[in-house]
């Protein structure tokens, strides 16, 4: 904006356009993704997918609820695992948040949340077997790591006037409960309830490894091409997620959490010897386990072992993971920006919004491997089905969060409508928040690349899964350690970018 007094030559000079750091960062990410796309294999090799896809479509329009004997119990157990896991994770996270400034605590939290719930479950399966505790811990541990981080950041950003106003001599604990916590309580509550929705999805997904939740039956039905049954299970799951705010009342949470542990079902006995064996034998690298520690052969074998794992598996695995993650991240962002208006009060009336909500619930609640399988049928094996599956799933999650956020934007009475409203008003005002959500999702997308073995994409997670299939737990732990380092690095980078761009973390709950 030049002042009226500005000399004419200033007005006539061509002003060099400068972009804000936010735009520059976004463009940089798009650029990286474009380069990755160049290296990624996204060829389409389809022959005749239509008979299988036709069977799926037929399943969707003829959902078969009749075969699902005891469906009530499946749902109850799915909810029970989510409740127990999230409650433990939230309480653990809340306690950890108080000591989050201590380096080792922060690092441990970053490490535990870098491991996908499914891998936690597979690790606990080795020690505890198919017991309820396996499922509960598989949710609780990574969630404690995530909650600790978000709670700590929320508490840090708490407005301090209330704290300053406290009389001199007020104890730390009183100060915490009467000044600091009340200010952020609503954020913590909102975040925890969002976490519960994630917990429900996690709980369902744990069924894939054998816990008695919805995923168990879904995987069975889907794996056998029993699409009517799979559709029925998915519809039930959609309804469960979509009606969450009606049955998950704040007043009832305590009651739910009290009852849930008794609904997890039984399991095999836990034997201490299995836990000891896992910790002291199984995860010791094979060369050390089988050789004498005093001979030099053992140590050179160990070096070979580590070198083989690193160069043959970890390194190519990291490359594939990186490619897939960066492309899927940008695709997720583009999709989220396209999808969020569907549920925003700024753009649509009640009925279209309802349809939008249903659409987003379906996208974000359909497990990625099912999406990936559908696209595998359509396009043949390549990175393309993985990219589309990951970005649809995550784009719907971020679209949902951004849509809700956009409702809070206050508009002038004479604000434009339609595309102009989107481009000139809403988008600029939600963009920072959108990026915050997206950067939070970055590491999540990276973790999710693990489960696409059906496509033959050799991500780090693919190699972990192979080592698990071979019951080579020493390799599993080695590869998981590398996965953790990789994830923590991305997390640190994401935090760095967010703080440089001053993106608020307070509502960053993706």
């Amino acid at each position: 904006m030049s002042s009226p007094q500005a000399p004419p030559h200033v007005l006539s000079t061509k002003v060099r356009r400068t972009y804000s750091p936010v735009v520059k960062t976004s463009l940089a990410f798009v650029g990286v993704a474009a380069v990755c796309l160049f290296f990624a294999d996204i060829s389409i090799t389809t022959l005749d997918p239509w008979s299988e896809l036709g069977r799926m479509a037929q399943g969707v329009v003829t959902p078969d609820f009749s075969v699902l004997g005891g469906i009530g119990m499946i749902i109850v157990q799915t909810i029970a695992f989510a409740l127990c896991g999230v409650a433990l994770g939230a309480v653990g996270g809340f306690l950890l948040a108080q000591v989050f400034h201590i380096g080792p605590v922060r690092w441990t939290c970053a490490a535990v949340r870098a491991i996908h719930e499914l891998f936690w479950a597979l690790i606990f399966l080795q020690m505890l077997g198919l017991t309820p505790l396996t499922g509960v811990l598989a949710i609780a541990i990574p969630y404690a790591g995530i909650c600790a981080k978000v709670y700590a950041e929320t508490l840090e950003e708490a407005e301090l006037p209330a704290l300053v106003a406290l009389p001199y001599g007020t104890g730390v604990i009183s100060g915490f409960f009467f000044a600091r916590l009340p200010d952020v309580w609503v954020h913590i509550k909102n975040y925890t309830s969002y976490r519960f929705e994630c917990g429900l999805r996690s709980s369902a997904v744990l069924g894939f490894v054998g816990l008695p939740t919805l995923g168990f039956y879904l995987e069975t039905a889907f794996g056998e091409g029993n699409y009517s049954e799979a559709a029925a299970l998915l519809i039930i799951f959609y309804i469960l997620i979509a009606t969450l705010r009606f049955w998950m009342r704040p007043k009832l949470v305590g009651l739910y959490v009290l009852v849930a542990p008794f609904l997890l079902g039984g399991g095999a006995a836990i034997e201490m010897s299995n836990i000891t064996r896992f910790l002291t034998v199984d995860i010791v690298p094979a060369p050390l386990r089988n050789g004498s520690l005093t001979t030099s052969d053992t140590w050179s074998n160990l070096a070979d072992w580590a070198g083989m794992l690193f160069f043959d598996q970890a390194l190519p695995g990291m490359a594939a993971t990186f490619l897939l993650t960066q492309i899927a991240l940008v695709a997720t962002g583009i999709l989220a920006l396209a999808l969020f208006p569907l549920i925003s009060k700024k753009f649509f009336g009640r009925v279209p919004r309802l349809i939008g909500h249903v659409f987003l619930v379906v996208l974000r609640s359909t497990p990625e491997f099912i999406l990936a399988y559908i696209f595998l049928q359509l396009w043949g094996p390549s990175m393309l089905p993985a990219i589309v599956a990951l970005s649809l799933h995550n784009g719907a999650i971020i679209g949902h969060l951004v849509g809700r956020f956009s409702d809070e934007v206050r508009l002038r009475p004479d604000s434009p409508r339609g595309l102009n409203l989107y481009g000139y008003e809403i988008l600029p005002r939600i963009y920072g928040q959108f990026l915050a959500f997206l950067f939070y999702r970055w590491e999540v997308i990276m973790r999710e690349t693990a489960i696409l073995g059906i496509l033959g994409i050799a991500t780090l997670g693919f190699f972990v899964d192979s080592a698990l299939a071979d019951i080579r737990l020493d390799r599993v732990m080695f590869l998981i350690a590398i996965m953790v380092i990789f994830n923590v690095a991305v997390d640190a980078l994401s935090r760095h970018i967010r703080s440089r761009l001053r993106l608020s973390t307070r509502t960053g709950q993706a």
């Binding site: 505790l133 091409g225 959490v257 034997e271």
Partner: protein, 291 residues
């Protein structure tokens, strides 16, 4: 901060209650599992019948628990959460390797000479042949589960033997469908051009009409190898009574109910021993699937 207290209290209870049921050792129920190689609803139906039969014949409460992967079946056996397993060749070798004293006690009649079928989509133009189909080079290829004998171990062995090189460098894409039914579905739709499948599952799907011969056909059959077997832990003798192992073997070998046998599907069960699976162990070591 009442809610917080309730939540904390609830979480504490949640923790203790989930740990508790684990303490009650399931009296002396004899538990078995099976690798999830196909249709799980069918597996459950089949093995619940087997459980009822064993309960009656052994006079010991017997239960089947379903698992989701080959590795989970082996792990449950290793952790003594099941004492008997219906394993494939490779998973059985792994299970016995991890549990010293465990023993293969019976196999299906057909399991003495099991086969893997290489199947291909019609568009590949591949024709059935008695020789290894060298033309599969450069195609996309899907195995079944990573831990499967017929869907992974044996086909990978023959691919490596012929090409002297790993599947990754022979095929343009290598996938793991998860199970035999999915392998068939993926090759039938052309998502993958070639696949390797358990011949029993193939025959079964031909019978049930899930296969369209115009789209997909068998191009090569592997030489026969030993596959599925019942494997039992050595310490069952101590836990139940001396001679228990022999009793279980006898019960399995005497399983004559045609309905029950048809559900496997096997003609009958015959004695087996650990040494029957030496070829599988050797191949597994050769392609580095076992240490």
């Amino acid at each position: 901060m009442n809610k917080l207290k309730i939540l904390a209290f609830g979480a504490a209870i949640a923790f203790t209650a989930t740990a508790l049921p684990a303490q009650q050792v399931l009296a002396e129920t004899f538990v078995f599992t099976a690798i999830p190689d196909e249709n799980e609803a069918r597996l459950r139906e089949r093995f619940d019948k087997v459980a009822a039969y064993l309960t009656k014949t052994l006079g010991v409460e017997t239960k089947y628990i379903p698992v989701k992967s080959y590795a989970a079946a082996v792990t449950a056996f290793r952790n003594n959460q099941v004492q008997l397993g219906w394993f494939g060749g490779l998973s059985g070798v792994r299970a016995r390797h991890l549990v010293p004293g465990s023993e293969a006690i019976a196999q299906g009649f057909e399991d003495q000479a099991f086969e893997t079928y290489f199947i291909a989509h019609a568009s590949t133009g591949l024709k059935p042949s008695a020789e290894f189909p060298a033309e599969i080079e450069g195609k996309t290829f899907t195995f079944g589960s990573k831990g499967s004998t017929s869907g992974r171990l044996m086909p990978e062995y023959y691919v490596r033997q012929y090409f002297k090189s790993a599947p990754n460098s022979i095929f343009t894409k290598v996938g793991f469908s998860g199970n035999h039914s999915k392998t068939i579905a993926l090759v039938q739709s052309g998502a993958y051009q070639v696949g390797a499948v358990n011949f029993k599952v193939w025959e079964n799907e031909i019978k049930t009409g899930k296969i369209d011969p115009a789209k997909i056909s068998v191009v090569w059959k592997t030489p026969p190898y030993p596959d599925y077997q019942w494997t039992i832990r050595g310490d069952v003798e101590k836990r139940w009574k001396p001679g228990f192992k022999a009793k279980v073997r006898e019960a399995l070998l005497n399983m004559k109910d045609p309905d029950l046998l048809a559900s496997f599907p096997r003609k009958s069960f015959i004695p087996a021993s650990n040494s029957d699976y030496k070829p599988i162990l050797d191949v597994a070591k050769l392609i580095d699937l076992i240490n």
